[in-house]
Amino acid sequence: MDLIIGGAYQGKRAYAKEKYALTDAQIASCTERGDLPLGARCIDHLELYTLRCVKDGVNATEVFRAHAKEWENSVLICEDIFCGVVPMGAEMRAWREVTGELCAYLSREAVHVTRMFCGLAQVLK
């Protein structure tokens, strides 16, 4: 598994498409309502899946741990939501916590971790 992290609009998806020669059909985007699209070659917007988990009281990292075989060869993309002021709303605070915990776990499991900045890739691992 390779993890791509970066702020909004930094070119994460475009980089994944080019680097791994992916078509749009191979990239499954999480949503605030849907299930985790396990088995996809590339899963985008993990931060929307974690938002759903917060709303539903599900432990996102445990879900990933339980299904490790299904994403171990995937490219996972998550937005960096960690640098702002602590949000006023409890749900948004929990969202940052849960997303951060998941990214830390995925970062340990990943073969490569890449951070996108202004469309440029920075290899972190």
Binding site: G6, G7, A8, Y9, Q10, G11, E79, D80, I81, F82, C83, G84, V85, P87, M92, W95, R96, F117, C118, G119, L120, Q122
Partner: protein, 180 residues
């Protein structure tokens, strides 16, 4: 030589950009292209502070809040241009009149103008702001602005020789280098 400098606010981007511009221009013309159009007393105080901070660095100031490539016609293209900042420029282009609707062509106009400077000026140093890594949920207008500024950043990063991020005055180099 073209350099893009990004990072969070209060990380020393402007002071760093000025020092880079001084190094690049040696004996040549050195322009500080100010894009902020002051709106209130707070803005004017900020501008006065910036003018004082660069007073002994030998810059000629050009005020160019919109139509950014217009600064080239008032200067020597063989000089070094410090554009501070793309963020203020985009604000002026995108929200031209209070109460009027947002101008959706603003990002492309900024990209065209800034890239013209990058391609035709001898040296250019661009300062932008990194606004993309928080958990806030913005209204549609602010979100459009973030997306547009990021598009400007990516376009500049692609044409610049060097791209750096400043973190509490420390330099993280994302492209090229600073050996010149």
């Amino acid at each position: 030589m073209n350099i893009l400098i990004s990072g969070g606010c209060k990380n020393g981007k402007t002071a760093f950009a000025e020092d880079i511009a001084v190094r690049l221009s040696a004996a040549g013309d050195r322009y500080y292209v100010a894009t902020m159009v002051p709106f209130d007393g707070e803005d004017r105080a900020r501008i006065a502070r910036h003018i004082a901070e660069r007073a002994d660095k030998g810059f000629q100031t050009i005020e160019q809040g919109r139509d950014i490539a217009g600064c080239l016609t008032r200067a020597n293209r063989g000089g070094t241009f410090l554009i501070d900042s793309t963020t203020a420029l985009l604000v002026n282009e995108m929200f031209p009149f209070a109460g009027k609707s947002v101008d959706d062509g603003a990002a492309n106009r900024c990209i065209a103008g800034l890239c013209e400077i990058a391609k035709t000026a001898k040296n250019a140093v661009f300062v932008t702001d990194y606004l993309y890594a928080d958990a806030a949920r913005y209204d549609a207008s602010t979100e459009n602005f973030r997306a547009a500024l990021a598009a400007v950043d990516r376009a500049l990063a692609a044409v610049c020789d060097t791209v750096v991020e400043l973190c509490v005055t420390n330099v993280i180099c994302h492209k090229g280098g600073l050996d010149f």
